[in-house]
């Protein structure tokens, strides 16, 4: 069964690009991706560009409204995700806890909805 691991962190939290620590973080992600691939649980996963690059659209009575930035002003921002295919929540949580950003942000684990079950 599939679980989506949503990686949240406050902007500016954790190692920033251009620092030595950032290389370590990237290394951590690479290792994590290798682990989940090797274990056969990796379904998908991407890192997202900064929220400054986000655009939000809504539609009301057919009228589209486009806004700069994320819809809500949240302190924590979605920075990336993994979709993992695990046998149960315990396994999913075990992997989620290994995601490097869990150290300075948080990882929300949600089951992917299965229609027609």
């Amino acid at each position: 069964m599939q679980y989506m691991c949503l990686i949240y962190a406050r902007e500016g939290a954790g190692p920033q690009p251009g620092t030595a620590e950032f290389g370590g973080l990237m290394q951590g992600y690479q290792e994590f991706s290798e682990t989940v691939t090797k274990d056969g649980v990796f379904v998908g996963g991407e890192a997202l560009e900064d929220v400054a690059s986000a655009t939000t659209v809504t539609r009301e009575n057919g009228k589209v409204e486009t806004m700069d930035g994320p819809f809500a002003e949240t302190k924590e921002q979605l920075g990336g995700y993994y979709i993992l295919d695990c046998k149960d929540l315990d396994e999913a949580l075990k992997y989620a806890a290994q995601i490097p950003s869990a150290e300075y942000g948080r990882v929300e684990v949600r089951p992917v909805m299965v229609f027609d079950k």
Binding site: K87, D88, L89, D90, P111
Partner: protein, 421 residues
């Protein structure tokens, strides 16, 4: 012939005793706690009809699980997505076709394998809220009604029912397994389980509603579960502490209510208990366990409470109790677990080791911002202190509030009897 009411009572008792075991096994079979509970509930209703007419079957639990499984097969067959349920259905039919299940205990063991431990780890999973874990364990393993659980939490039954439904839904959707966690995850998962077991024990020891203060089955169940977990993880001193604590409390089971005469079943305080009636086997096992755990220097709330209980158990009389030691232990306990009930108990110890005034001050400090105004033990303790100080009028007032707040008849009787002294 037995009057119908009596039979209903027997059925209720059987269901309560066997509920957890049957439900855990059924849940493991079906992989769905809600479905298992619904089917078992249907089987119970069916039992009411059949047993009234035909008398009790040889093995009521075996009867219940058999009927519950049939109900499950029916439900799964009616399910829109019949095809996706094929595996469950074939498995249930296979179980159904097993040899005659009447009678023998070892056959019972085979038909209803004990999956309560797996179940308790599911119910106490860290992905569930604390209160939900406790409620779920009481409902699924203790077989308590939603109403009783709501009473235990001073919560309203509708909110409690919703909480339970949400929890079962989450377990199903997020696929929380029905398994004993691996060694690595065990310690963390364990502390949550211990908390829940102790609550079950207390529910058995001084039930919050109903006619009997001691629901021995639940206390035994809690002790049994603690023993199983202790075997699983013998190096964990807090399990030992919890087991010791429960044994020491339980050793007073016979002494804490009156057994004969017209006033049979009345609660007797620790002070007035006939210590001859304490169960020495349980006391020595409890003391032995806690004495083995304490030197390992991994103190925890259960070990401290067990130590307190052991001090009581070792005192020949109430007067000879080492109150200073008890008060000191409560102080350590409060540092770890700042809960009002611990302060109330410490105040009672202080009333013997220091002074009544010091105890009353401590008690009133615990009720800061009136947060214990609706808490029965607070008023009972206050009444006791005031009465011992000779302030009869104020003491009576507090006793009356305590009586009003209690929903247990034995507890009420106990407090009423105190008032008249």
């Amino acid at each position: 012939m037995l009057p119908p009411l009596k039979l209903t009572h027997v059925i209720e008792k059987t269901v309560r005793e066997e509920w957890g075991r049957i439900l855990a096994s059924l849940t493991k079979n079906l992989g769905d706690m809600q479905l298992a509970e619904d089917c078992l509930q249907e089987a119970v209703i069916s039992a009411m009809n059949h047993w009234q007419k035909n008398g009790l079957p040889k093995s009521p639990p075996a009867w219940l699980i058999k009927v519950a499984r049939r109900k499950a097969i029916d439900r799964l067959r009616r399910d829109q997505n019949f095809a996706s349920k094929q595996n469950e259905i074939s498995y249930l039919i296979e179980l159904e076709n097993q040899k005659n299940i009447e009678g023998e205990r070892d056959v019972m063991q085979h038909v209803i394998p004990d999956k309560r431990l797996e179940m308790i780890f599911t119910c106490c999973h860290p992905a569930l809220e604390e209160k939900t874990k406790i409620a779920l364990t009481l409902r699924t393993l203790g077989g308590l009604s939603t109403q009783e659980i709501a009473n235990a939490f001073l919560d309203n039954p509708e909110a409690m029912a919703q909480r339970l439904v949400r929890a079962k839904k989450k377990i199903a959707i997020a696929n929380i397994p029905y398994e004993i966690p691996d060694k690595q995850a065990l310690p963390e998962r364990l502390s949550s389980v211990l908390n829940v077991i102790y609550l079950i024990f207390n529910e058995g020891y001084s039930s919050n509603s109903g006619d009997s203060v001691t629901r021995a089955d639940l206390s035994d169940e809690a002790i049994r579960l603690a023993r199983i977990i202790k075997n699983l993880s013998p190096e964990e001193t807090e399990i030992t502490g919890l087991l010791a604590l429960m044994l020491l409390h339980d050793s007073r089971r016979q002494a804490r209510t009156t057994s004969s005469g017209e006033k049979s079943g009345e609660m007797i305080s620790l002070e007035d208990q006939n210590r001859e009636r304490w169960d020495n086997a349980k006391i020595s096992e409890g003391i032995k366990l806690i004495k083995a755990a304490l030197p390992k220097q991994r103190l925890g709330p259960y070990q401290l409470q067990a130590a307190i209980s052991a001090v009581h158990a070792e005192a020949k009389t109430w007067e000879q109790t080492d109150w200073a030691q008890i008060s000191a232990l409560y102080n350590l306990l409060y540092a770890m677990q700042p809960s009002p009930v611990i302060r109330i108990n410490q105040a009672m110890a202080v009333s013997y080791s220091q002074s009544l005034q010091a105890a009353l001050t401590m008690l009133m400090d615990a009720n800061e911002a009136g947060k214990l105004d609706k808490y029965q033990p607070f008023h009972a303790a206050k009444a006791d202190l005031l009465s011992r100080m000779g302030n009869t009028t104020q003491a009576k007032l507090s006793f009356k509030i305590a009586i009003k707040l209690s929903n247990n008849q034995q507890e009420k009787d106990f407090l009423i009897q105190k008032i008249s002294h």
